[in-house]
Amino acid sequence: MGNSGRSAGRTAAGRFIDFKAMGPFMALVALFVLGALINDAFLSSGNLSNIFTRSAFIGIIAVGATFVITAGGIDLSVGSMAAFISGAMIVVMNTLIATLGAGVETVLLGIAVSVVLGVAAGAINGLVTTRGKIEAFIVTLGTMGIYRSLVTYMADGGTLSLDFAIRDTYRPLYYGDILGIPVPVVVFFAVAVGGYVLLNMTPFGRKCFAIGSNEQVARYSAIHVDRIKTLTYVIQGLCVSIATIIYVPRLGSASSSTGVLWELEAIAAVIIGGTMLKGGYGRIWGTVIGAIMLTTIGNILNLTDVISNYLNGAVQGLIIIVAVLLQRGDWRRKKN
């Protein structure tokens, strides 16, 4: 039938270009044009590299958040978790220098601690949510307070600073590059590709979609709903840990002000990217673009002084709304 031929054609094309993802992408392009118009320096390779490097933190965390949100959950604790894991890493590495020296082993052990803590923190969020049958919003609001307090406590209210002896060993993980591409960007890309594969090409990802879209149907389809949901929080924790691993070498410190409001930024990146807050539909590439968009907005505001500084927040808010509006408008046209 001509009918099925047509639909086959459409899906074949869909495999190469994800049309739905075009919305956020177009909005990002619009932002870049705006940036270029405002300041020549915007398109300089240094500035672009800054933008992509910076978006790596929120971006990596947001990739994790895409899983949580797709499966119908939410995690407000990521910012605090990042601060806590950074703090713990720094304490561990500073302590290890005495025995292991300021070499690669110490850094690797610090990284291992980070991963363990991330996975554990995620598992706690997941298990309390699923076993306790408490709304994820409440659980992660609680752990948000807990992780932040813990880092404040560890730092005695101040700042935990990475020993200068080890900074040089660890430094390349933020400041280095691979074939000219900054390491954080490479890591971000790898996490995004990994996230994409996991969400879109594996049974696990499919199950996340199913749970977010209808938990009952998922249960009746032999899916261990609680286990999968918990795993999404573990993935979120792991992503926070990865983000932390590249964050710590940047400034070599952690304090109670580390990662404040990252949760909002991460969730915003996810939603700007087209994932639905109610669950059931998630898009990793959208999330990546959402994270880059948020960073770009901040960057553009720093590149101009026509707007009163006091209005930065307003401009940021407006641009977010308009960008999302644009991308929605785009969708609708496509449908008809």
């Binding site: 047509r6 049974p203 209808n214 149907v217 389809s221």
Partner: protein
């Protein structure tokens, strides 16, 4: 036939022409669903609308009642052309539609749903007492014994349907359209509904009635319009038509034999035994044996506990006691995965609530239950597509487009997809709860033969159905349940409607005893 065709333009009863549609066309995206369809509705007639799954019946009635706008064509109400902007316009003009899929807010109560959007008020406030009384009165009129304060999500599907009917009846329809209202109802409830329909017909209400149950159409309808692939085939008086004629008009060919004629070997080995299984408040001390290659029917009135029993067996409901033996070996089944490992699969009767992901396309729905078979680490898209291809062919699923969301499918095609989904995990034992709900007669026969093929391959089927013909035509043995207990096992010559009803209701006298005892 000629005689009948001549009747087409004329109503059987002498009412006024109320609603008439001309040359209705409708497309979704690139797929045209209706082609120049006409229909006339007269006051005081029951007009049946027949057609295969996906023929466009639901689309047509949604257009008539204002939920969809036609692409072209004209709707004339009481002599003047109308075009509804929304269903509210339709309802304001007295056209009420009961949707094929339930349209109730799960978290609200029966009373809240019935009066949703047109609450009774005293001053600025809700008149809850009046609404509760009115709801109780409406439900009593349908002999439906549910508390208006129950939440919809706590009701069985059949009760939900009765709530929908009560809601529609409370709207004082001039033109009442019912889209497969009886798909989820049992015989007793169908009788009650028909009484109501006859009463409305006497009051001069025009009724458009969609059903795949040809008996019902014979029983209630005056005229019938048949659609096939979106085109109008004929409109005739029912009186001149036999069921076979209607079936032929619908599918465009003869339906050879409805049921497969296999008889299971009564000495085949037992593959599944259930012993002393109880679910608190729902099932008491149930036990049975299932043999290889047999179809074991479970009959009973609504709420008898059949679904609860089956869901307890496969680990979807907590059981307080009971043992399960697979091929004679005790097995532990705590969840559906365990059940799957034992080769048991379950087809739910609630396709919208627990069967299909309505916001997704066909492919992920089809493979969801058997997902592990499509790759442990990476999903094999090719294999999924191949499976979809096969399922579409095997179950004759008709969807305009593979990217269409399953929620936009015609009801029957959803059911077929659900069946395909369950069969995708290739089970040895299939528990099928209401397999032909909303399925057209041609496809029904396909499904029956499909079940026959399964048993011929040595697989076993447990069939839960409220359709008596289906129960009798397919089952080798029939177990009857009432009030959570097994009250009879019917074999051979005992498998009659009379016997089933006797066990299903006769025992209800004992229910009081058992509750107190």
């Amino acid at each position: 036939m000629k005689n009948a065709a001549k009747n087409a333009a004329e109503p059987v009863v002498s009412g006024q022409l109320r609603l008439s549609a001309r040359q209705i066309c409708k497309s979704f995206g690139a797929a045209q669903v209706l082609f120049d369809v006409p229909i006339d509705l007269y006051a005081g007639e029951v007009h049946a609308l027949l057609g295969e799954n996906g023929a466009g019946k639901s689309t047509l009635v949604k257009i008539l009642s204002g939920y969809h706008a036609p692409d072209s064509g004209e709707i004339v109400l009481d002599g003047s052309p109308v075009s509804f902007d929304s269903s509210e316009d339709g309802e304001a003009r007295g056209i009420i539609l009961i949707h094929q899929e339930l349209n109730l807010a799960d978290q609200l109560t029966v009373e809240e749903n019935i009066f949703l959007g047109r609450e009774m008020t005293r001053g600025w406030f809700l008149d809850k007492a009046a609404m509760r009384d009115e709801a109780a009165r409406l439900l009593a009129g349908l002999q439906c014994d549910i508390d208006p304060c129950t939440r919809i999500r706590d009701l069985p599907v059949s009760d939900r349907q009765m709530v929908e009917i009560a809601k529609a009846l409370s709207k004082q329809a001039d033109i009442l359209i019912l889209d497969e209202p009886t798909a989820v109802l049992t015989g007793r409830e169908v009788d009650i509904l028909f009484d109501q329909i006859r009463r409305l017909r006497e009051r001069g209400v025009a009724i458009l009635y969609i059903s795949h149950k040809l008996d019902e159409i014979k029983a209630i309808a005056d005229r019938v319009t048949v659609l096939r692939d979106g085109s109008h085939i004929t409109t005739q008086a029912v009186a001149g038509l036999e069921k076979d004629d209607m079936a032929r008009l619908m599918v465009g060919r003869d339906i050879a034999q409805m049921f497969p004629d296999q008889i299971a070997d009564p000495s085949a080995p037992v593959v599944l035994s259930v012993r002393n299984l109880s679910v608190p408040g729902q099932v008491y001390d149930a036990g049975f044996d299932l043999r290889r290659g047999e179809v074991l029917g479970f009959a009973g009135i609504v709420g008898a506990g059949r679904t609860a029993l089956m869901e307890a067996i496969i680990g979807l409901r907590p059981r307080s006691s009971g043992a399960i033996l697979r091929d004679g070996q005790p097995v532990v089944i705590d969840n559906l995965r365990d059940a799957g490992r034992c080769g048991i699969a379950y087809l739910t009767k609630d396709r919208k609530g627990s069967g299909l992901l309505l916001n997704m396309e066909m492919r992920p729905n089809l493979t969801l239950l058997a997902l592990d078979r499509f790759g442990r680490f990476l999903l094999n898209r090719k294999a999924e597509d191949a499976a979809l291809e096969k399922a579409i062919a095997a179950f004759d699923i008709r969807a305009a487009d593979r990217t269409t969301k399953v929620g936009d499918f015609s009801g029957g095609n959803q059911q077929k997809l659900l069946l395909a989904k369950v069969m995708e995990c290739n089970p040895d034992i299939v528990i099928i709860d209401e397999p032909t709900r909303g399925i057209d007669i041609g496809t029904k026969s396909q499904i029956y033969h499909f079940i026959g093929d399964l048993t011929a391959q040595g697989k076993s089927v447990i069939l839960l159905s409220s359709e008596m013909t289906e129960m009798l035509g397919l089952s080798d043995r029939i177990i009857v349940m009432a009030a959570g207990r097994i009250t009879g096992i019917l074999d051979g010559e005992d498998r009659t409607e009379h016997q089933i009803m006797r066990h299903a209701t006769g025992i209800s006298d004992n229910q009081g005893v058992s509750v107190h005892g």
